[in-house]
């Protein structure tokens, strides 16, 4: 199969959908000839024109709010939030409006919109441009939350997100944009709420999200050499969360490590770990569930510090070894 990048997969998912569905359009800052801050929409304004690839003022609250209003009245907007850190400005529209509308109105109306937004560190962009704040939105009933880790998943999950009749926050990891993989040319959909076992194993389960999936896989490859068999699960969507697949794996391995790039304290890892520990997997647990996440600091600019702020492959390897060695 042909290989394309994660970035191209995202673009292709949008473009293919826009070709067949007039209601889908995209709006955001600099998504026209500039192609968006990361080039995701490059070429789209040329194909779809400025009405459907709509450059906005620097007004995140209005972009989100206009998406809500457009979605409520029959369009299916995709909004590109230039950096996921700027969700701080769009938060009211996403949380108090998009997420709650339908319920508050007693089940009337729907808000089919996708918020596409790049997150994560590794670019040297410092504290205001590198956050992983998915835990916030994953705590809000009414929203769905997607975090693809591969080009294949990105395309299929974005299709599902665009098809969904609810507001979906779709996190793209900046460092994954250039990662390539096999991606079918035709449209396909990966249902929201279905985790993917990225690698099967028997000794330890690692639940990892976004870029940490790749680090976990690297760690697993290393650990295999030492005879430790690691299963790597990528939830792919935090809301809905495929707890079944995760719990099943932990019941099998009896050991679990949760890894995300977001700050560990208060991060979504706590939810995953707690769900496992609350489940029937509790009885199978041979060691505490360890969580790996970023340190309790804003993201530093210095490249070495930036790396040290978040879990790296050796940290994962160490955590697995500690867990395996437990008791």
């Amino acid at each position: 199969m042909r290989e394309i990048t994660y970035l191209e997969a995202v673009r292709e998912a949008m473009s293919q959908e826009m070709r067949i569905n007039e209601d889908v359009f995209i709006m955001g800052e600099d998504i026209g000839v500039y192609g968006g801050a990361f080039g995701v929409t490059r070429g789209m304004i040329e194909e779809f024109g400025p009405e459907r690839v709509r450059i906005t003022p620097i007004s995140e609250a209005a972009i989100a709010g206009a998406s809500v209003g457009a979605a409520m009245t029959g369009m299916r907007p995709i909004m590109e939030l230039q950096f996921s850190d700027f969700i701080t400005i769009a938060m009211d529209q996403l949380v108090n409006q998009a997420a709650k509308n339908r319920y508050m109105f007693g089940g009337k109306g729907k808000v089919p919109m996708v918020v596409r937004t790049p997150s994560g560190s590794g670019t040297g962009a410092a504290a205001q441009h590198t956050q992983s704040l998915e835990a916030w939105v994953a705590h809000v009933p009414g929203l769905k939350v997607v975090q693809p880790s591969t080009a294949y998943d990105a395309k299929g999950l974005l299709k599902a997100a665009m098809d969904d009749d609810n507001p979906v926050v779709f996190y793209e990891h900046k460092l994954l944009y250039k990662a390539s993989g096999e991606v079918p040319e035709e449209q396909y959909s990966i249902p929201l709420g279905v985790a993917d076992v990225k690698r099967e194993g028997t000794d330890v389960t690692i639940v990892a999200t976004a870029i940490m999936v790749h680090k976990a896989l690297e760690a697993a490859a290393e650990l295999e050499k030492e005879g430790i068999s690691v299963e790597v699960i990528d939830p792919r969507t935090l809301v809905p969360l495929d707890t079944e697949t995760i719990i099943k794996s932990v019941k099998k391995t009896g050991k679990c490590i949760v890894v995300h790039e977001a700050v560990k304290f208060g991060g979504f890892g706590g939810e995953i770990a707690s769900i496992i520990a609350e489940s029937e997997a509790f009885d199978y647990l041979d060691a505490p569930i360890r969580r790996l996440g970023a340190l309790w600091i804003p993201m530093p600019y210095h490249p070495e510090m930036e790396k040290a702020a978040i879990p790296q492959v050796p940290d994962i390897i160490q955590a697995v070894k500690d867990t395996v060695a437990f008791r």
Binding site: G65, Q93, N96, K108
Partner: protein, 328 residues
Amino acid sequence: MTVAWKLPEMVTEEKLIELYHQMWVIRFFDEKVDEFFAKGMIHGTTHLCVGQEATAAGVGALLTKEDKITGTHRGHGQCIAKGAEASRMMAELFGRATGYCKGKGGSMHIADLETGNLGANGIVGGGIPIAVGAALTSKMKNLGYVTVSYFGDGASNEGSFHEAVNMASIWNLPVIFFCENNQYGMSGPVKEMVNIENIADRAVGYGIPGVVVDGNNIFDVMLATEEAVNRAKRGEGPTLIEAKTYRYKGHSKSDGKKYRTREEEMDWRKNRDCIQFLEKALIEKGLITVEKARELEADAKKVIEDAVEFALNSPHPSMDTLEEDVYA
């Protein structure tokens, strides 16, 4: 207050009489709510528009069912004027299954998508960008409808107002930003919260027309709205209308109204009441008699009594529905 006695094309003299009736319906609705609230029969919170009926009625008169509105926390009048039934609204306030939100939303979230009401809003300024989105749909799909976004003087200081109006302006969207300036944002006097004479003056910053009207004069409200609707429908973009008005009641429950004087309130109540104003105009013009006015008033009262009866006789929602309606 003077009566121009000029009516928008869309508004016949008959319709005007209906509007008079509607204003009474709105007033009685909110007075009833006030009463039930005081009695502890309605819970939560509620914001009454008693005294401001002409803005909602005047705007509503110019809108068709296809047109949309986004409302505010002080939205009962806006809903009624857009075609909502008092009975289902009252049922909502009583938290009944027959309410517009099946008891899940309450006063601040009444929505009626079928009549183009995209929802009241508990967030000050929250509905303004949403209206822009609704207007965007109209433009992109060529649907020809306009969207009116109601908001208060206080809301005009939210960033959402600024971002939304600018966006609508550069995209020439068919939307009307309708500011109900009732002199206060909760306890904050508009005179102290902005440093300008009129909220409408803010239009300059967006390159759109800004119009000030006497919000208690329904003719003024209608004529300004008509012009804005026509402008929007011609594809010329948004208009900012500011209607100067006054709320008779406190901001919400338990408001001592210490931030304003009794004299000020009485002045508005006695000398500038919007219903009295229209009534006088209708009678002077010979469209109704005093008796007819009393009849219409009584009928409106009856509408609300019926609404209350409907509400009180409606079932509570089943607790089984608690976790429904989160996702479509």
